[in-house]
Symmetry: C2
Subunit: 123 residues, 2 copies
């Protein structure tokens, strides 16, 4: 999904327990087939889901992509799964966008982070 | 980490429960500082850990990187955490390689995958 900010890229922080992570690893087909527009819309829609905490993505150009999405509980994941536009996108994903994907849903048992001390810079 | 294969890139499959995922999201500093050589060595070392199932990575050029590593149980994660070369790399990561990172350790509760039916092609 997209990153519209000009701020320095930073990983999402660990959240306070309890929370869940959904790992989505995928390889795309060639061409866009409407993927970009739909991804942008879903990127906004998921923010409205109660219990959604955040998501982030990376993709090697032309290669594997990994999106990790964080939710407070299983109920929040189910709410997101049941959203009509999301279900439509899942169908279109299998029909057009993805060569292959794997989804893992997991309950986080420990999270921590590191950030370098840095002097202030103008952006 | 690295991918030396010429086979088509595919996401790792879901494994049979139980298993754990370690999500490592990071933003690198500029320059290599020995990162590539160490990453390649750790890539081999982790395969020797009993209970290690697999890992995969993606990084936006110059941006966020996500590595997901799969282990059978918490004991396997602890074995990997205690390996000397891995501990050294974690220290060097904080000293030189990473602007910031976040680690989430999570117990997978559900996993599934999709792969497109495709006609055989020569590589």
């Amino acid at each position: 999904m997209s990153d519209h900010s000009d701020a320095p890229v930073r990983p999402l922080p660990a959240f306070e327990l309890p929370y869940y992570v959904v790992v989505f690893s995928s390889v795309r087909t060639e061409g866009d087939h409407g993927y970009g527009e739909t991804a942008g819309r879903l990127d906004e829609l998921v923010r409205e889901i109660p219990g959604y905490l955040g998501h982030e993505s990376a993709r090697k150009p032309g290669g594997l992509g990994i999106t990790v999405s964080y939710f407070r509980d299983v109920a929040a994941i189910e709410r997101w799964r049941s959203v009509g536009d999301h279900r439509d996108a899942q169908r279109q994903g299998r029909a057009e966008w993805y060569e292959a994907y794997t989804v893992h849903v997991a309950e986080v048992v420990r999270g921590h982070g590191f950030a370098r001390e840095r002097s202030e810079r103008s952006e």
